[in-house]
């Protein structure tokens, strides 16, 4: 029996299992991309408009978040798309590949399913091989849709450019899929495999950002995303970066297959040897334990909040100019008498920031129910932990944590804005606008606590409410919904600082709602059955 026996059968099983999920990924990435460029000719009818847009790429902050700036002298639609969108389409393809690979290799092993499969007439590395094939195929699918679709979407886009774009996207996707295939072999858990792969993707993003901002080629070459951009789609296409992709992919794939061949089922190479045999003092009280369990959740949201804050501050001036030229965009902005455009812009940013912080807060609160359902809640509670005390920790971690996210983001945005405008007052205003969102975020926490006490089975409703209010906040102004609909949202209760005046009473009312919800939740959680 060869080590590849059964690859074809496994491949067919995988397709069956993945057909819905993978189709959604493939279609979302390729079709959404095509849809999003559909409006470009209307938005930028003349060469002058496009050159105006190209100016944005002069700013380091935007260059870090977009492309390398090839072809900005003559900013055609093709150059615009490559500079501003390639990055994101490629990153999406990379995520699709990473998750798909890990789902079908290490995660299967973790759940013990692969044991059944490998016990059958299946070669040692057939699972990896089948997953690899499916991953390559999915990326090629995306490439084909893009290559065929782009010239139809915008007139005048060349086949050659579309090919460079599409193949570049597939190259990045396959590259990271292969990286995760290797990671799935060496690490012992699915979480670690996708975590390490995603971190490498983040590094690749960062390296090319540094390369693009400082125009240093060495950094760009460190990043597979940079290789894709170096194909210079629609500017002057170059094909030799394909050699880098090919070489890298083959090397990594061979390494992954080799490790898979050598190791035991279920084992890894990066075996976590010798963890701690004892719990330190911090862990052995309840809040310490819960904080420890949430530390990565918080840190990753904090990194996001910091990035968002810095980005807000960095692009505020340019973005204000941009909106000044684009009246359509103003629908999104908080309108207020006598406010500067930058202030309106910040007021809008802050509403988004509140959504981000509420997302973290709800992730913490809803974890509580999952703990209860999994039996980890039960085993804690019988160590003579009163139920309200148990809930209190989640409340603290989500309230204090979300407040800290607002502070972190506010410091980033305020400091940069103050630096650009040389105004301490401006910096303070922006910072204050960030922390002024706190009560709106906490109302969601309160709602979660209330449901946890009264009706735990319906806890996931908080996500529905959150999504509804977030959507209303995002696109409500465009949908021209009746005013009362957007008015019941907690976000809407916070005045649009810094564009509008801050008011004490709105904060007090929201905090009162939060307090009532929380107290009722803590009281009623003592009165109900544990969800087991």
């Amino acid at each position: 029996m060869s080590v590849f026996t059964g690859t074809g059968t496994l491949f067919r099983i995988m397709i069956r299992k993945e057909r819905v999920r993978l189709s959604i990924w493939i279609v979302s990435i390729s079709v959404l991309f095509l849809l999003s460029i559909l409006s470009f000719p209307e938005t930028y009818p003349t060469q002058e408009d496009r050159q105006g847009r190209a100016l944005l790429l002069e700013s380091p902050a935007l260059r870090a978040m977009a492309g390398p700036g090839y072809g900005i002298e003559n900013y055609t639609f093709g150059a615009m798309i490559t500079n501003e969108m390639f990055l994101y389409v490629a990153v999406a393809a990379a995520f699709m590949s990473i998750f798909m690979i890990v789902r079908n290799t290490r995660a299967e092993e973790e759940s013990g399913l692969s044991e059944l499969v490998k016990a059958g007439a299946v070669g040692r590395v057939s699972m990896s091989a089948a997953a690899f094939l499916l991953m390559v195929l999915s990326n090629l699918f995306i490439a084909v849709i893009i290559i065929i679709g782009m010239p139809y979407t915008i007139e005048g886009l060349s086949w050659e450019g579309a090919s460079a774009f599409g193949i570049g996207v597939a190259g990045v996707g396959i590259m990271f899929g292969t990286i995760s295939l290797l990671m799935a072999q060496v690490s012992e858990s699915a979480g670690a495999a996708s975590g390490i792969s995603s971190a490498l993707l983040g590094l690749a993003f960062l390296f090319r950002a540094v390369g693009d901002v400082a125009s240093v080629d060495a950094w760009r070459w460190l990043s597979p995303i940079g290789w894709g951009q170096a194909m210079r789609a629609f500017v002057d296409e170059r094909w030799w970066p394909l050699g880098l992709f090919g070489g890298g992919i083959i090397l990594l794939a061979v390494a992954a297959i080799y490790v898979d061949y050598r190791r035991d089922d279920g084992a890894g190479v990066l075996r976590v040897q010798g963890g701690k045999a004892r719990a330190g003092g911090g862990l052995t009280h309840l809040l310490g334990l819960q904080s420890f369990l949430f530390r990565w959740v918080f840190l990753s949201w904090a990194a996001g909040a910091a990035l968002y804050g810095v980005a807000m501050g960095a692009i505020s001036e340019e973005a204000a100019d941009f909106f000044a030229d684009n009246p359509i965009g103003e629908d999104f902005l908080v309108q207020a008498e006598g406010a500067t455009l930058a202030e309106s812009l910040f007021a809008t940013y802050m509403a988004f920031l509140a959504m981000l912080a509420a997302g973290y807060a709800l992730q913490v609160m809803t974890k509580m129910l999952r703990e209860e359902k999994s039996g980890r809640g039960e085993i804690l509670l019988v160590q003579s932990v009163p139920r309200p005390r148990w809930m209190l920790d989640y409340l603290l971690i989500s309230c204090v944590g979300s407040f800290m996210l607002l502070v972190i983001s506010g410091i980033g945005a305020g400091a940069l804005y103050g630096y650009y405008t040389d105004s301490a007052d401006g910096a303070w205003k922006v910072f204050f606008a960030a922390i002024a969102q706190t009560p709106a975020v906490w109302v969601f926490v309160g709602l979660a606590a209330l449901l946890m006490g009264l009706w735990p089975k319906a806890l996931s409703l908080v996500w529905l409410v959150y999504t509804a209010f977030t959507l209303i906040g995002l696109i409500g102004p465009l949908l021209q919904l009746p005013e009362w609909v957007s008015d019941i949202s907690p976000y809407a209760q916070i005045p649009g600082v810094p564009a509008e005046e801050w008011t004490v009473w709105s904060t007090v009312i929201l905090l009162a709602v939060f307090a009532v919800f929380t107290v009722v939740g803590m009281y009623t959680i003592r009165k109900r059955d544990l969800v087991i």
Binding site: V272, K276, A279, L283, I379, D529, I532
Partner: protein, 299 residues
């Protein structure tokens, strides 16, 4: 008062479904109680009602003289509990989990902790997510045995343990008994219950159907008779207290209810008994009889 646990007429409904109906159960100081019953009969539910994790729908539940629901937190201080399905935090090591749970519980014996880790052959440095079911169960067992408590509650504690570890578990329970602690042991392993428990309660479809010492259970139930007689005793099969009649020539085998033993013996003697073997039923026979549905039971 040395009655640690007292359940009286306890019922528990999940919606319309009655998981427990009029359950009575007592545990005296120093007693080890076996709690048996088929899958889904209500053992775990009873335990959770006792621990105030589920709210009773009716009846009275008292532990250490306190109401199980309102006094749950105080009660937990005096109870060590090992759930049937042990789930812990995947990213903590086994040693960390034991410490976390032990310290939260309060009275935690460090010395015992070390000894138990060695006895149960647990590697405390491994992350919990890499533990097998049995090893996760060991975590909870070590925590419970190292905690000072008056009542130890085990819900199917050996379902994931290998035979060697199961015997170490039994050893640890014997030590608890020796210290005069009370134990409630829910289990499907009959030998374990037979070896450890002073009294047994059998629950079926939410009702306690049998309860008493093993001796009582044996003698209050049917007795197995194998006999060889000169004349036929076939008429015995008519009796309502004779069950599972099997005849093979002059040899017969059947069970008889205790009340019917005397008349049946007279009948056998009258028929000229050649050989007679009577024994109380094994625990297994008792269980299987109770576990089988009413429909499947002969006579």
């Amino acid at each position: 008062m040395n009655e640690l646990v007292k359940l009286e007429g306890v019922s528990k409904y999940f919606g319309k479904h009655a998981a427990l109906e009029h359950v009575d159960l007592t545990i005296q100081n120093g007693e080890t109680i076996g709690f048996l019953g088929p899958n889904g009969s209500g053992k775990s539910t009873t335990i959770r009602v006792m621990l105030g994790l589920l709210k009773k729908s009716g009846g009275e539940v008292k532990l250490f003289g306190k109401d199980a629901w309102t006094g749950a937190v105080d009660i937990h201080k005096r109870v060590a509990y090992v759930p049937g399905d042990v789930n812990v935090w995947p990213n903590l090591t086994g040693g960390q989990v034991i410490d976390v749970l032990g310290k939260l519980h309060g009275k935690f014996n460090e010395e015992k902790r070390q000894q138990l880790i060695e006895r149960f052959q647990l590697d405390p440095r491994k992350k919990s997510k890499t533990y097998s079911k049995g090893n996760r169960q060991k975590l909870a067992l070590i925590t419970a045995f190292a905690s000072e408590a008056d009542l130890y509650i085990f819900d199917e504690p050996t379902s994931g343990l290998d035979p060697l570890m199961a015997s170490i578990f039994r050893e640890c329970v014997r030590e608890l008994k020796h210290e005069g602690k009370a134990v409630l042991l829910s289990s499907h392993i009959l030998a374990e219950v037979e070896e450890l428990c002073d009294r047994v309660s059998i629950i079926k479809e939410g009702k306690i159907i049998e309860s008493g010492t093993l001796e009582e259970l044996r003698h209050l139930t049917r007795i197995s008779i194998t006999a060889e007689t000169k004349e036929t005793v076939a008429s015995l099969v008519e009796r309502s207290d004779v069950h599972q009649w099997e005849a093979d020539g002059s040899k017969v085998h059947f069970y008889v209810d205790v009340e019917g033993l005397a008349p049946v013996m007279q009948k056998l003697a009258a028929a000229g008994v050649v050989s007679l073997e009577s024994r109380p039923p094994t625990l297994e026979e008792i269980f299987l009889r109770h576990y089988e549905s009413k429909a499947g039971e002969a006579g």
